[in-house]
Amino acid sequence: MSTLNIRGLEVSVITEKGHIEILRGVDLTISSGETHAIMGPNGSGKSTLAYSIAGHPKYTITGGSVTLDGANVLEMTVDERARAGLFLAMQYPVEVPGVSVSNFLRTAATAIRGEAPKLRTWVGEVKEAMTALNMDPAFSERNVNEGFSGGEKKRHEIMQLELLKPKIAILDETDSGLDVDALRIVSEGVVRAKEANNLGVLLITHYTRILRYIKPDFVHVFANGRIVEEGGPELADKLEEKGYAEYVGA
């Protein structure tokens, strides 16, 4: 049982114009097995929350705390956070030229697990994960995210989620740019990872359609850098109907 505890998180970015405050005191607790959806309009700070938890250097934490099972996440380097059990499925996964998917996955699995996975079982593991996500085996010989379609990038993210077995996963707009079939395949992967590892999920999305596949236990409405309303799955239905208008400018 793991718990990611976010308390009063304040985050800024430094630009030429000075500090711009993006997160203005976020409180959120995610435990193993739970699915939390964060929904909100574009520009509300949802992605900033995701990247700040993962430790992206662009964001400066100006207040609050983030702990994973009591350990101070904000003091960890990016790789330490991942090894502690956090995972971020990115909206825009980065191309790494010259590094094959198979090399990348094995390097990551070795880092996360603390030892190189045994070659024979590893090959089977990767094959299984790829088959489940309906991916061509030739995929593993391609360079990481290089020339991938939007759907391939998202499948590759979820494949990593399944192979690296984190405690808490943040999915940053994993549904964006996916057609109906790809959305279903990717969502099924998330549900599999949840069931297999009692994963806690923080699902960041603009739209409700992914919630048909990945049922949230809690829905949080995000606007202007903080959570402005919380509820159960019924809150998503309300958002579907009425949109974010009442929260914007609040």
């Binding site: 995972f87 990115m90 980065v94 010259g98 390097t107 990551a108 880092a111």
Partner: protein, 363 residues
């Protein structure tokens, strides 16, 4: 001591072609003050396959196939006593690379080396030149590709720390022939190579690939010149370099000339430099001169920068520690070029060397 030295225009460092080169470290190759030894260092590593011959020809018997304004090339042509000639007979198709290597030189003495490689009509071959040891070496390698032939020409500059190597690697490519080169420069004090290409007839193509990794105090200079003087020739240039350490200096010049007659030319050149520490300097100058608009394409790109933070973040967000992430990125950066060398032992040796250099970068 060379008696002919005074006939050449000794570069002063103010010339465009010499403005980046630290002539004070050139060991007298450029002004004729170096002591020329009688050692002829280039030899075949193994017994040559059928259809391939290597011989040394006296200077008086060597025909001229190309000109150069470069003083090193001029000196080599005028003063080298013999020319090493590797000949690949027409129609021969070799599956295994031909390896050339160096005999040990006399330390402190210089060599002027003239080399010619002739690939006969319709022949296909790979030549790998492994350059190591301590040298002061001026060299001209003329590579003649007859019609419809193919040559992959790999040179590895793994010279020891005090070496000076100044060379032209000049390809003359005939109709429908294909030249590929991979130029690797990782060792030496001062290395200055002119990878140059001359197209003789339509349908000829050249792909020039290169990697270099300069560390503290090393000067590695590659001055590419591709001369599109005939119609419908194709050229691609892709050089990638990394630099680390104080006064590591690399120079990449990419001159591509599309003459008025060269209609249907297709050319693209690219240079990327990765700065791994402070105090290093990469000069990168792509230079495209176009005298006809009737071409298929002509372009160039040049980038010099530090590690891509987004790449490192992506890898680290998967648990990969910073050092390992950098190693992956740099290996990936070079793998694109090194994977073209048809010899796994050499690929592995170069990658291990790169890892070693990277480990020294620290932080």
């Amino acid at each position: 001591m060379s008696v002919l030295a005074t006939n050449y225009l000794t570069p002063t460092g103010r010339e465009e072609a010499w403005r980046f080169t630290p002539l004070s470290r050139f060991a007298g190759l450029h002004d004729g003050t170096s002591v020329i030894s009688s050692v002829e260092s280039l030899i075949a590593r193994d017994a040559l396959p059928a259809g391939v011959t290597a011989s040394r020809i006296s200077r008086e018997l060597v025909s001229s196939v190309s000109q150069s304004e470069d003083v090193i090339v001029q000196r080599v042509h005028a003063e080298a006593e013999t020319m090493f000639h590797l000949q690949i007979a027409p129609s021969i198709e070799l599956s295994e690379p031909i390896h050339l290597k160096r005999k040990q030189m006399q330390v402190g003495q210089a060599e002027l080396s003239r080399v010619r490689i002739t690939v006969g009509q319709g022949a296909r071959a790979i030549v790998i030149v492994e350059n190591d040891g301590e040298v002061i070496l001026g060299e001209d390698i003329e590579i003649i590709l007859e019609q419809n032939s193919y040559l992959k020409f790999v040179t590895l500059q793994e010279w020891s720390a005090h070496s000076v190597y100044a060379a032209r690697h000049h390809a003359i490519i005939d109709r429908d022939a294909t030249f590929e080169s991979v130029t690797v420069t990782v060792g030496g004090s001062l290395v200055r190579i002119l990878p140059t290409v001359e197209f003789k007839a339509p349908g000829s193509s050249a792909e020039l690939l290169g990697v270099y990794f300069a560390t503290a105090g090393q000067h590695f200079e590659h001055r590419i010149h591709v001369d599109h003087a005939v119609p419908k020739a194709k050229s691609r240039v892709n050089y990638k370099g990394a630099l680390s350490g104080n006064e590591a200096h690399t120079v990449w010049i990419g001159d591509v000339l599309i003459r008025a007659a060269a209609e249907g030319t297709d050319t693209y050149e690219l240079n990327r430099n990765l700065l791994l520490s402070d105090g290093a300097r990469a000069d990168s100058v792509p230079n495209l001169e176009i005298e006809t608009g009737e071409i298929v394409g002509a372009g160039h790109a040049s980038t010099t920068g530090r590690f891509d933070d987004e790449q490192l973040f992506y890898l680290m967000s998967r648990g990969v520690p910073m050092d390992e992430a950098r190693r992956l990125v740099v290996r990936g950066f070079f793998a694109e070029i090194i994977s073209h060398i048809n010899d796994e032992a050499i690929q592995e040796r170069l990658m291990v060397g790169i890892d070693g250099e990277l480990a020294k970068v620290g932080e």
